[in-house]
């Protein structure tokens, strides 16, 4: 599988649905039955992904929301989206 980079675009597959429950987001792939719980930061990234498929946009959005080092955020963001992609919850565009 191709490793996603900050310059890449992604999309949320039609078979993936999500819900915010008790402050966290649960993301479910309807085709596989796999679901994934997201914490507060993960929820912020997920919400940004729903607004824009450009990872650069997501990076900038989340950077404004949290007091975080840019390099650390980039590392965490890419690890997160690649993890979602590996579970079929996100796809490269």
């Amino acid at each position: 599988m191709i490793e996603l980079k900050r310059s890449d675009r992604v999309l949320i597959p039609d078979a993936v649905i999500s819900r915010e429950i008790e402050g966290e987001t649960v993301v479910l792939n309807l085709e596989t039955g796999v679901y994934f719980g997201l914490d507060t930061v993960g929820t912020a990234i997920w919400n940004a992904l729903r607004q824009s498929g450009r990872l650069e946009d997501v990076y900038q959005t989340v950077l404004q929301q949290f007091d975080v080092q840019p390099a650390a955020l980039e590392n965490d963001l890419l690890r997160f989206v690649n993890q979602l992609a590996s579970k079929g919850l996100l796809a490269g565009a």
Binding site: D14, I17, G33, Y35
Partner: protein, 214 residues
């Protein structure tokens, strides 16, 4: 849009909830049109079409076909168990502390299955909901609710719009039924109860068809 379940969360119009609340108070039941957004409803209907149904009898109360527990049922529970949905239902019905919805998908065939007056009263059931999953309009299948000591009904609803939801009150002294389906088209619905004793996350982890990834 009054209350709509979408792929990424529910959307609600509080003013609409207040309008529905007065009708619910008077009739003990009300319809929320278009609960499931059309694209999502089509996906649900495809999954229901592919699912296995088995004969089921609820004692002397009712007979029906019931969809086997599967990933489609897990999807429906996932869609409806949403804090926005709970808040809207509370605002319409006056119920408090709702935290989960649990139901089944049933199908009633014209001239085959039946339903009798019953209460649904059971621990942790406060509000009933039936979401119409039928692709085509069916005949009959009319919901009625009344006091159990009176033949006159509080409310009568034909819940025939695809994706529409019927809400009804569950309480001691109230009973309801769905009249036989007539014509040629079966009625298929996702029906169950809202309660507050258990949260949905606990139920989600028990769903045998969904798997949590770390």
């Amino acid at each position: 849009m009054i209350l709509q379940v979408t792929a990424h969360g529910a959307l609600a119009d509080p003013a609409s909830a207040d309008r529905l609340a007065s009708r619910f108070a008077a009739e003990r039941c009300v319809v929320v049109p278009g609960l499931i957004e059309p694209a999502l409803l089509a996906r649900v209907q495809d999954a229901v079409d592919a699912a296995e149904f088995v004969d089921r009898s609820h004692g002397d109360i009712a007979t029906e076909l019931c969809m086997s527990t599967n990933s489609c049922l897990g999807m429906l529970h996932f869609l409806v168990n949403d804090p926005v949905v709970f808040g809207f239902i509370e605002r319409v019905t006056g119920a408090r502390g709702l935290s989960s919805f649990h139901g089944r998908v049933y199908r009633r065939l014209p001239g085959v299955h039946h339903d009798s007056w019953h209460s649904d009263v059971y621990p942790d059931r406060t509000i009933g909901m039936s979401v119409n999953l039928s692709r085509d309009a069916y005949e009959g299948g009319i919901f009625e609710i009344r006091d159990d000591d009176s033949p006159s009904v509080h409310g009568v609803i034909a819940n025939v719009g695809p994706g529409d939801a019927l809400l009804f009150k569950i309480a001691d002294g109230l009973e309801h039924r769905v009249t036989p389906v007539t014509g040629r088209v079966p009625k298929t619905a996702f029906a169950g109860w809202f309660g507050g004793a258990r949260d949905y996350v606990a139920r989600l982890r028990e769903d045998p068809f969904l798997r949590e990834e770390e």
